[in-house]
């Protein structure tokens, strides 16, 4: 094992949260910082020549290599889990920028009451309304506390949109159902493709309140508070699952990397896979990390401060592999690591219209949303579920390999002349109404280490125990009926609803927004970190990202990940560094 010279801080993971923390420490402190990223280096010029659907959208060149590591899945504690052998239900990234490079750049905030989900739900509906076996908790943070950090995140990325609530004042044309914002979006909404424009009209005709999807692909050129300038989006359509070749879509490589390159106190090491956080249990102190470097050599990086900022699954797995804290056991309810595994309820409806939509044009985050059925915006007293979600017609550029072949329900063939003819006829006339719903936490949905399957280093894989429950089934049923109404108002000739939600499906993309495992909370008994992201177990260990979120919102989480990272950075710099101990 190679012992490397000690640094002040080591950051695990070079995505949005890890690199944001690195730029904060690099610009606001004198600390020496090392970022360890398991994947390769990436820069803006790499994406020129990347407009290749097969490589990026089908073979997933930017994603985690599952031959090296995956996760196992089972539906309940009695089953044996099997590995998810190919990318499907989520698409984890790897390399500098992580999934923040290939993301869709949709930037809504969580609804305000999500942070106090237990209290607010019980207040309005009583204890009886909570689903059986739920693990709903408050986060230990309120909307008012986190809002300023959301605003900083929006400015960092130059998020485009139209506010619907500024300091309590409702504004038509924006999202009326979101928490009050302190100010308007930094940039105006993006241009709309035709399908989204049709959806907007349809939603209005039904009395809903459509608004532009908050987007981190710029509508106009923008310079952020760090002095980083990016151009407006070209609507090329090669967006989600691709890297942006002009840097219009906010990605860590175009928003944070240029800053890091100027910060001499920070270094980024690529192809470095962290296998353990080394710690002293008695001293309650993390001592550094053990990793395999680009040459395959085992290294030890000693550090005073360890920041775990990789993706949800990797954060949780590294805690379990390192043996920090107690593994959660759903039978006893003891232990905190692995709790509150949630995904997202994504249910799409396909709408066949009789007009060409020119849907090769677009950007993943442009589009129109309807949040009239988000969170608790509507009364659930007489509904068989709690919470809700957002409907969205996104303007993502449709590409033919993944989009060809969708035919109206009257066509039964899936190959041959009849199918081909119908698929050509309808190719450019299908719009998708997406629904993204909240996924609440349950006591029996959790992470632990798989007893059978290992990664390419020989370490156990992470195991997910998860399935859909009644709450999700009912929510999807409700949302699908609403989506069908919206589709008819768009002039649909035919509609295809989402596939069954009877079972969690590893083949079907839900979102890459898996969360939980190292959740934040007010008590070390039931959470891994405090509401500032500091480990209860080891005060010099901080955890960033979706693994710390106790519940899953309907909103895409990146903006929230960035907001909480800023909050942790502020706390760390202004409080922890002055007095390195457990924060109270």
């Amino acid at each position: 094992m190679k012992n490397l010279p000690k640094v002040d801080a080591v950051i695990i993971g070079g995505g949005w949260s890890g690199l944001l923390m690195a730029t904060q420490l690099g610009s606001r402190t004198q600390l020496s910082v090392v970022v360890l990223e398991r994947g390769g280096a990436r820069k803006l010029p790499d994406y020129l020549g990347g407009m290749d659907e097969l490589e990026f959208n089908v073979r997933f060149r930017m994603m985690q290599d599952y031959s090296q590591e995956t996760v196992t899945l089972r539906y309940n504690m009695r089953d044996r889990a099997v590995p998810i052998r190919q990318l499907g239900n989520f698409l984890p990234g790897t390399g500098t920028g992580g999934a923040g490079e290939h993301w869709g750049a949709t930037c809504p905030r969580y609804v305000a009451d999500l942070f106090e989900l237990y209290t607010k739900t019980v207040e309005r509906y009583g204890l009886k309304k909570l689903p059986e076996d739920h693990a709903i908790v408050d986060w230990g943070v309120t909307w008012d506390e986190i809002e300023p950090y959301y605003t900083r995140g929006d400015k960092l990325m130059g998020v485009c949109g139209k506010a619907g609530n500024i300091k309590g004042k409702l504004i038509e044309g924006g999202n009326l159902f979101e928490g009050p914002r302190s100010e308007e979006y930094p940039t105006p909404p993006m241009k709309l493709p035709y399908a989204a424009a049709l959806f907007e009209q349809a939603a209005k005709s039904l009395g809903y309140h459509p608004y532009p999807n908050p987007a981190a692909a710029l509508s106009v050129p923008y310079t952020n508070p760090d002095g980083i300038s990016r151009p407006g989006c070209a609507y090329c359509g090669f967006c989600d699952r691709f890297g942006c070749m002009i840097g219009a879509k906010a990605q860590p490589t175009n928003t944070l990397l240029p800053l890091l390159e100027k910060q001499k106190s920070v270094s980024l090491r690529n192809n470095c896979a962290v296998r353990r956080i080394v710690f002293d249990k008695n001293a309650k102190r993390a001592g550094g990390v053990q990793y395999i470097d680009a040459n395959g050599e085992e290294c030890f990086q000693s550090a005073d401060l360890v920041i775990l900022g990789s993706w949800t699954l990797n954060n949780t797995r590294l805690m379990l592999l390192s043996g920090i804290g107690e593994q959660y056991d759903p039978t006893t309810g003891k232990g905190a690591v692995g709790r509150n595994l949630t995904h997202q309820v994504s249910a799409g409806t396909q709408v066949f219209v009789d007009k060409p939509l020119n849907r090769f044009m677009g950007a993943a985050p442009t589009g129109i949303c309807v949040s009239d059925f988000d969170g608790d915006a509507f009364d659930h007293s007489n509904l068989p579920f709690i919470r809700g979600g957002t409907f969205r017609v996104a303007g993502t550029g449709f590409q033919p390999v993944v989009s060809f072949g969708v035919v109206p329900p009257t066509v039964k063939a899936r190959w041959g002349s009849e199918w081909k003819k119908a698929a050509i006829e309808w190719y450019d006339k299908v719009a998708g109404i997406g629904f993204s719903g909240e996924h609440i936490a349950y006591k029996t949905h959790y992470f632990d280490l798989d007893p059978r399957y290992k990664d390419h280093f020989g370490d156990p894989l992470l195991r997910m125990t998860i399935d859909w429950r009644q709450n999700e089934l009912e929510m999807v049923k409700f949302a699908t009926a609403k989506a069908a109404e919206l589709a008819r108002a768009m002039g649909a000739k035919a509609v295809i609803g989402p596939p069954s939600f009877e079972r969690y499906d590893a083949r079907r993309y839900q979102s890459t927004h898996v969360q939980g495992g190292t959740i934040m909370g007010k008590s070390p008994e039931t959470s891994v970190v405090n509401p500032w992201g500091q480990s209860w177990e080891l005060p010099n260990l901080f955890i960033l990202g979706g693994s710390t979120f106790p519940q899953n919102g309907a909103a895409n989480p990146t903006t929230s990940v960035i907001a909480f990272t800023y909050r942790t950075a502020d706390t760390l710099i202004s409080r922890y560094l002055k007095s390195p101990a457990a924060l109270a």
């Binding site: 097969l54 060149r61 035709y194 390999v401």
Partner: protein
């Protein structure tokens, strides 16, 4: 080393094919038929090809299939995505060449799939493909079971494919046929962008900023361009790369 196999096609029957010669230089062989006008023609009889190319045949080096396997794949892909009055199909697009290259490349050998044992069978479909067989294995076996398929009349071919409709092999073949129809021509399919022209997809178009919110309800169909026409630097697809990432040393826990 395996015997070198070639796919032999009449030049008149294809819109144009990118061929990698033995020295790995790319050359384009073009027939006179223009995509969209090309009549459905079979390899043997031919339609009414232009005289200047009638005698030409293309010998396309195969990387994975044997000649007879390639003939089976070509025949089956042509039933999945036929050449008919709705336009050109798998045959004109060079789907078989595309599949051959994919199977020879990293995807064909499952370079990015988790292939650790044990492989469990009898699981619900929701767990995704759990088999041990790589795409190469699936094709090799699937094609064995299709022996003689290319000699059957179309109706019998369809009958045979209906029997295997739910198999892993057919699912893969159908998916790969669509890929070969609509991928960037850099991968050996979608020759001369025949697939894109069928559906009005313009390929990698750098900017739509002046068109995105216009043309509402009207078909806007810019002329297709492929990646090699758009990007100044040559792009090497993954199936042409010998190594993707630095291989790490194996270490024990």
């Amino acid at each position: 080393m395996r015997r070198r196999h070639f796919l032999v096609l009449s030049a008149a029957s294809v819109g144009g094919v990118l061929v990698y010669s033995l020295d790995r230089k790319v050359s384009r062989l073009c027939a006179q038929d223009r995509p969209g006008q090309a009549k459905p023609v079979s390899d043997k009889s031919g339609g009414k090809p232009d005289k200047s190319v009638q005698s030409k045949t293309l010998r396309i080096p195969l990387r994975f299939f044997t000649e007879s396997e390639a003939a089976l794949v070509a025949a089956a892909a042509s039933r999945i995505f036929p050449s008919d009055d709705a336009g050109p199909g798998a045959h004109e697009a060079g789907v078989v060449i595309f599949i051959d290259r994919q199977l020879a490349g990293p995807w064909g050998r499952d370079a990015r799939r988790y292939t650790h044992e044990p492989f469990e069978d009898g699981l619900a479909a929701e767990f995704g493909y759990q088999g041990k067989a790589t795409p190469r294995d699936v094709y090799r076996q699937g094609l064995k079971d299709l022996a003689g398929f290319d000699a059957l009349p179309p109706a019998q071919q369809d009958e045979k494919l209906k029997h295997i409709e739910d198999s892993v092999f057919f699912t893969l073949l159908r998916r790969n046929s669509i890929e070969g129809m609509f991928c960037d021509p850099i991968h050996g399919g979608n020759v001369d962008m025949v697939g894109w022209q069928l559906i009005g997809f313009p390929g990698p178009r750098m900017s739509n900023v002046n068109d995105i919110d216009k043309h509402n309800g009207e078909a806007f169909r810019p002329k297709p361009m492929s990646l090699s026409q758009v990007v100044p630097e040559p792009v090497r697809p993954s199936e042409e790369q010998t190594r993707s990432e630095p291989k790490r040393k194996k270490t024990s826990a």
